[in-house]
C-alpha cells in the first residue's frame, strides 16, 4: 500500500511543525510552527473531502475555522511576551 501525495505532504507539514514548536526561538515563531502542524491534518481532510465526500469537506472547513481561531489566540498571547525564558539561552550555549 503506497502513501498518496496529500498524505505525504500532510506528514511533512506535521513533522516540520512539531520540530518548529520544539525549537522555535521566539513565542511567535513557535505559534507559526503550530500553524504548520495543524495544516497537516487540514490537508489530509481536504484531500479526502475533494473525493466528493461531503463529510470530508465539512471536516476540512471546521478544521480551518478552529485552526484560525487557535492560531489567532496563540499569536495574541505570543505578542504579550516577546522574550523567551532564560534557560533556553543557557541550553543553546
Amino acid at each position: 500500500m503506497g502513501i498518496s501525495l496529500p498524505a505525504a505532504l500532510a506528514m511533512l507539514l506535521v513533522l516540520l511543525g512539531f520540530h518548529g514548536v520544539l525549537i522555535g526561538k521566539t513565542p511567535l515563531r513557535r505559534s507559526l510552527a503550530w500553524c504548520l502542524l495543524q495544516a497537516g491534518p487540514c490537508v489530509l481532510a481536504l484531500s479526502l473531502g475533494l473525493k466528493e465526500d461531503p463529510l470530508g469537506q465539512a471536516l476540512a472547513l471546521i478544521l480551518l475555522v478552529v485552526g484560525g481561531l487557535v492560531a489567532s489566540v496563540l499569536c495574541f498571547l505570543a505578542k504579550l511576551q516577546p522574550t523567551l525564558p532564560k534557560e533556553r539561552k543557557g541550553r543553546a550555549r
Binding site: V14, V21, P41, L48, L63, V66
Partner: protein
C-alpha cells in the same frame, strides 16, 4: 462573562448556582440510571457518522458528578481564601466563566462517542484552561501561552490519529470504527491510530498533572489534576476499548517493550517525588506517577486489571484534588511550601492532618482506602495474566510508597513545630478537603457496591455477562 463585567460577586454567585444546579441534576440522573446498560442519545436524531452519539453509563455519570463537585469546590474555595497572589481582582471576575467552560467541555468529552467531536471539545478545553490559568496565575500570559501551545500540539496529534482512523474506516463513531476495523482486519490502522491518540492525550495529561513548570494556585491545580487529568485518562480508556480493541489484535514485541518501559518510567517518578523537599514540587510528580498504575491496568487488559485501573482512576481523582486543596489550606498563594512546615500538623490541626493521612494512604495503598483496592485488583490482574514483570514493578512501587507513607506519618505527628507555622485555614477551605477524604474512605469501605454499580458496566463488553450472542455493529446492538 457578562456578569463578570458588572461585579465579581455576582459572577461568582451565578457560577456557584449554575454548577450547583448541574451537580444536583447529574446526581439525580445518576440515581435513576439503570445499572446494566448505558443511556444513548443521538444529537439531532441523526444516526452516525453525521449524527453525534452521546452515551451515559453509571461510571460516566459518577465522574460527571465528581467533576462538577470539584469545579464547585474550586469556585467556592477561590472566594474563601486569598488565592490570587498578586493577580488583580479584575481577573477574578472572569474566573467563574472559565471554570464553567472547563466543567462543561470535560462533561462533553466524557459523554461524546464521536472521534471528531472529541477533538473539537479537546481543543476548546485547551483554550478555556489557558484562559483560566492566564487569569489565576501570577505570570498569566506566559503560563497561558505555554499551556495553549503545548495543549494544541497534543490536540493536533490526536486529530492526526482521528483522521487516520477515518481514512481507514470511513466513520468517526467509536462503535463503527471498531466494527469496520474488525471487518477489514486492518490492525495496523488501529495500532497507528492508538499511538497518535495516546501521544495526543499524553501532552494533555502531563500538562494537567500539572506540569511542574506551570504552577497554578493550589485550588485550580486540584481541578486540573483531580478533574481534567483523570477524566482525560478515562476518555483514553474508552477510546482504547470501545474503538480500537479489535478482537484478535496482538501488539508486536517492540511495542510491548515500549509500553512496559512507559509504565516503569511513570512509576519511577514516585522515587523522584519522594526526594523533593517542597510539597508543591512533590504533588505534580505524584499526579504524573499515579498514571503508571492506570496504564499498568490497561496493559494487563484482563477483567481484574481493567477493574483496578478504573478504581485507581476514581481514587486518584479524589486523592489528588484533596491533596491540592489541603495544600491550599496551608498556603493559598503560589509559592514554595517546604515539607518541614507540615511537622506536627496532625497535632495542631487534627482534621486537616487526618485528611492528609487518608489521601497519602490511598496513594500508598493502605486499607481500607480506595487506592488499596485499586492496587489489589492490579496485582490480581498481573497474577491472572502471569505477567511477572508488571507484578514485580507494582509490588516494588507499593512497598516503596508504604515506606514513604510511614515517614510522612511520622512527620505529621512530630513533636517539634515548624519555624513558621502555616496560617489557620478558612472554613470555606476546610470543607472540600474533608468531603474528599470522606469520599476516599467511602469508596474503599463500600468498594464491592461501587464495583457492581459503576465499574463493571463500564468494562469492555467481552467482560460483561451479557446474553449471547451480543455483537455491537455499526452503532446498533444487534442479536
Amino acid at each position: 462573562m457578562g456578569l463578570g463585567l458588572l461585579s465579581a460577586r455576582a459572577a461568582r454567585s451565578f457560577g456557584l448556582i449554575l454548577l450547583g444546579t448541574s451537580l444536583a441534576l447529574a446526581a439525580r440522573t445518576l440515581a435513576h440510571l439503570p445499572g446494566e446498560v448505558a443511556w444513548r442519545y443521538n444529537l439531532g436524531g441523526w444516526p452516525p457518522p453525521w449524527g453525534i452519539e452521546m452515551s451515559l453509563s453509571p461510571l460516566l455519570a459518577l465522574f460527571t458528578c465528581l467533576l462538577l463537585a470539584l469545579a464547585f469546590f474550586t469556585l467556592f474555595y477561590s472566594g474563601g481564601v486569598a488565592a490570587y497572589g498578586t493577580v488583580g481582582r479584575w481577573n477574578i471576575r472572569f474566573l467563574p466563566a472559565a471554570l464553567l467552560g472547563i466543567s462543561g467541555t470535560l462533561s462533553g468529552l466524557l459523554l461524546i462517542r464521536d472521534a471528531f467531536s472529541h477533538y473539537l471539545l479537546l481543543q476548546v478545553l485547551v483554550l478555556v484552561c489557558g484562559l483560566a490559568l492566564g487569569l489565576a496565575c501570577e505570570q498569566g500570559a506566559k503560563v497561558a501561552f505555554q499551556w495553549t501551545l503545548m495543549g494544541s500540539v497534543g490536540a493536533s496529534l490526536l486529530l492526526w490519529g482521528v483522521l487516520g482512523l477515518w481514512s481507514a474506516t470511513g466513520t468517526l463513531h467509536f462503535g463503527d470504527i471498531l466494527a469496520r476495523l474488525f471487518i477489514s482486519g486492518d490492525l495496523k490502522a488501529a495500532l497507528a491510530g492508538g499511538a497518535f491518540l495516546t501521544l495526543g492525550w499524553a501532552f494533555l495529561l502531563a500538562l494537567a498533572a500539572p506540569w511542574p513548570g506551570i504552577q497554578p494556585p493550589p485550588f485550580l491545580a486540584g481541578l486540573l489534576s483531580g478533574g481534567l487529568a483523570r477524566v482525560g485518562a478515562l476518555c483514553l480508556f474508552f477510546f482504547y476499548f470501545s474503538a480500537l480493541n479489535v478482537p484478535g489484535m496482538t501488539h508486536p514485541s517492540w511495542l510491548l517493550f515500549l509500553e512496559h518501559l512507559g509504565v516503569v518510567l511513570l512509576l519511577g517518578l514516585f522515587g523522584w517525588a519522594a526526594r523533593r523537599r517542597d510539597l508543591m514540587e512533590t504533588l505534580p510528580l505524584l499526579g504524573l506517577a499515579q498514571f503508571g498504575f492506570f496504564f499498568a491496568g490497561v496493559l494487563l487488559g484482563n477483567k481484574a486489571g481493567l477493574t483496578g485501573a478504573l478504581v485507581e482512576l476514581l481514587a486518584q481523582a479524589l486523592g489528588m484534588a484533596g491533596l491540592y486543596f489541603a495544600a491550599g489550606t496551608l498556603r493559598p498563594n503560589v509559592g514554595p511550601q517546604p515539607l518541614s512546615r507540615l511537622a506536627g500538623l496532625a497535632r495542631r490541626r487534627p482534621w486537616t492532618g487526618l485528611a492528609l493521612i487518608v489521601f497519602a494512604a490511598s496513594i500508598a495503598g493502605v486499607p481500607p482506602t480506595a487506592g488499596f483496592f485499586g492496587k489489589y485488583y492490579l496485582v490480581l490482574g498481573a497474577l491472572e495474566k502471569g505477567d511477572k514483570f508488571l507484578l514485580a514493578v507494582i509490588a516494588v512501587t507499593v512497598l516503596f510508597n508504604l515506606v514513604v507513607f510511614l515517614r510522612f506519618l511520622l512527620l505529621l505527628f512530630e513533636h517539634r513545630g515548624p519555624s513558621a507555622p502555616p496560617e489557620p485555614p478558612s472554613r470555606a477551605a476546610r470543607l472540600p478537603v474533608l468531603l474528599l477524604a470522606l469520599g476516599v474512605l467511602v469508596l474503599g469501605l463500600f468498594h464491592q457496591a461501587a464495583l457492581n454499580r459503576f465499574i463493571e458496566p463500564a468494562l469492555p463488553k467481552a467482560f460483561l455477562e451479557l446474553p449471547s450472542p451480543y455483537v455491537p455493529f455499526l452503532g446498533k446492538d444487534v442479536e
